[in-house]
Amino acid sequence: MSKTSWKAQLREIVGMDYLLDSPAALLAYESDALTLFRCKPAAVLLPADTAEVAKCVAVLHAAKIPFAARGAGTGLSGGALVAEGGVVIAMTRMKRIHAIDAEQRIAIVDPGVVNLDLSRAAEKFGLRYAPDPASQSVSTLGGNMAENAGGPMCFLHGTTANHVLAVDVVLPDGRRETWGDVQNQAQDLDLRGFLCGSEGTVAIAVRLYLKLVPVPEKVVTLMAAFHSIGEACSAVSAIVAAGLRPVALEVMDQATIQAVENSVYRTGLPTDAGAVLVIEVEGPSATVEHDLPQIEALLAGFELLRLERAETPEQRLAVWKGRKGAGGALGRLAPDSYVMDGVVPRSKLTEIMEYVAEVQVESGLPVANLFHAGDGNIHPHFSYDGRDPKQAAAVEKAGAKILRRCLKLGGSISGEHGIGLEKQHLLAEQFGANEIALMERLRRVFNPEDLMNPGRGLPMGKGCAEAFHRHGRIQSG
């Protein structure tokens, strides 16, 4: 099939306006939020519904053109870009909330619905969608599912996979199926679970059936300021070990606090603190009133600079404005950012933070830490200038060192951002050859020709690093 004929067919399906191929229009799709990797696609499709997605995929499959689904492009591992000659299928026009069943506490949504829009829509039923990535005002529910996104509230509520009941999918050859069951009844293979976090390499989600949770009766947010990040981490470990179950335990270090306070997200965080710990407790009033004094008593064992209780929605919002805006505030510090993502057992937080500080000194680059401490999920944030190959190389080297230490401490190289293009070489250090080979064979069951998001998620050996331009021309590996 000639190049023009597949494009013409796709145009026919989505309509003239919804196939983009002008260089200017494609520019926005050449990377995701990890700007380290870039590649301009041959075209971008903006289908309106499931039928259009299925038809487009069938055409691409017949023409053997690689393609990748894309949500809002906020991914931090290079998942939503496609190698040269490929096509991006952007889900951003598919943003209908089809139904909210308040009785069953289920929402049926398009994949392009923005995370926060669902919680806003569910609010009038006294419900909300629990997974809350810091990108929730932009990132899509389809992208969240594909990355198994987490967020501050996931300490209590679990990550996206715990909230996806079923998914309507389009397979890499254009066929449609439903995986999972809204009643949460078992099927002998949990394809729904396998799909979550598969980084768009198994199937495209075209409709999601999501679990909603009741808006809690009472919510209180504590903001504890510590002299050092080590103490904040010790407090987290102590709270977890005491069996207390706040909904969120989030840490921001001094560099983050200062970036927030120098930005539009300013919220009055103590700039003299070594770190702040945001603790949110929610539930029935009786539970909150029982847990809160226990947490406060535990915190009293530390030498705190400040402890504030935010009870009104306005006070709580002010605390969260700082935490949720921190990524954006840090992004202003340098032309490029590298937000790392690793996990350690919660009891090893202090140890890993000490190591991050060591690596920072070695790399000579500024690092800030803001992370989901309750899950042991760290996010060292490097600010650098990608135009300087030395800085870019230093960032990559530092990142790999920290992730290797996470593995050494019994952790994982990714808690929520996925492997994408970024961490393929490290996956083989977390798993052995047998495990990687099994994953590769399983991918081929669903995506036999590797047309759907090729070169992503698993160490593909050849081609992947070369196929994408590395910003700053860093050597791979």
């Binding site: 006294g126 990355e147 987490g150 679990g158 996979a161 715990n162 949460n184 009844q185 078992a186 099927q187 002998d188 293979l189 949990d190 394809l191 679970g193 396998f194 979550c196 598969s198 009741p214 009766e217 977890v240 070990a241 069996g243 207390l244 179950r245 539930g283 029935p284 009786a286 539970t287 029982h290 996990v343 057992p345 919660r346 009891s347 899950d375 042991g376 999920n377 019994g410 952790g411 994982s412 990714s414 808690g415 929520e416 996925g418 492997i419 961490k423 996956l427 977390q430 798993f431 052995g432 047998n434 099994l438 994953m439 064979r441 399983l442 991918r443 081929r444 069951v445 998620g457 698993l458």
Partner: protein, 281 residues
């Protein structure tokens, strides 16, 4: 022992994961089909048509491999029972928040591999959400690890999710990394007229557990760490509540999981060209 009639000599018991690999390879060498199992207490319900020349049981592998109470995770061998795990967790203030039929008699490997529904699913999450990873043996004898020992990991495909619930058709489970949570400090039972529940549901805190009390038209509610006061609720005797809970649990009928059309292809991907294993004719 439940399940279809199987002669004792057709069941071989693995001492550990390495032994299971050797037994599997031995069976293959003799051209025998193999079906992994625990104590076979669920087999009649979840795999009634299963047939095999040899049953490879993991029931004797019942050690706690490690427990990180601070991180609230542990790893157990597949033959561990819920009862024994509770004994190990005594004094840690932690629990595996599951309540499944047959939990007293069967192994945890069998429980998770048969995707046994948990009565606590609506308050604590479905049983599969408590498994962070584990050890497995594929049909060709290859040992693999899945997942991680931390509470959050998205490194590579979630192979654990695919294998849980597969009723031994894809791999033998040798160990499970489990996510634990703080055990309730106290439990309280209440009764409420079933007809009132739809209206009450939204004004009461969500119960940990809810089930019909006998045939009386009443519901039994179990709350953790919470005394609930409401005109329509009546406090209920704790011991009687526990008795009714156990009776309800054992009387539960489990729906047989729908077989996936992807099973054959997935099994072939797990162990290409391996002899017949774990599949039900």
């Amino acid at each position: 022992m439940g399940g279809s009639k199987v002669a004792e000599q057709d069941i071989v018991h693995a001492k550990d994961a390495e032994d299971a690999v050797a037994l599997l390879q031995g069976a293959h060498a003799e051209g025998k089909s193999v079906m992994p199992c625990g104590k076979r207490s669920r087999q009649a319900r979840v795999a009634p048509t299963a047939r095999a020349d040899r049953w490879l049981s993991m029931a004797d592998c019942d050690r706690l491999l490690w427990l990180d109470a601070e991180d609230q995770t542990c790893e157990v061998q597949a033959g561990m029972s819920m009862l024994r795990l509770r004994e190990h967790l005594q004094g840690t203030g932690l629990e595996l928040a599951l309540m499944c039929r047959g939990e007293q008699s069967g192994t945890l490997g069998g429980l998770f591999l048969s995707a046994e529904p948990s009565l606590l699913a609506s308050s604590c999450g479905p049983s599969r959400d408590f498994v962070l990873g584990g050890g497995w043996i594929l049909a060709d004898g290859t040992p693999i690890r899945s997942g991680a020992r931390v509470v959050k990991s998205v490194a590579g495909y979630d192979v654990t999710r695919l294998l849980l619930g597969s009723r031994g058709q894809l791999a033998i489970n040798t160990s499970l990394i489990l996510r634990l949570r703080p055990a309730p400090r106290e439990l309280h039972y209440y009764v409420v007229k079933a007809a009132l529940w739809p209206e009450l549901r939204d004004c009461l805190p969500p119960p940990r557990l809810l089930f019909p009390a006998d045939e009386s038209g009443y519901l039994l509610l179990q709350y953790a760490n919470l005394e609930v006061k409401h005109n329509a609720l009546q406090a209920f005797d704790f011991r009687e509540g526990e008795r009714q809970r156990c009776a309800y649990l054992e009387a539960l009928t489990t729906q047989l999981p729908t077989p996936s059309p992807w099973l054959e292809a997935t099994a072939e991907a797990c162990a290409p060209g391996a002899p017949h294993f774990g599949r039900q004719p």
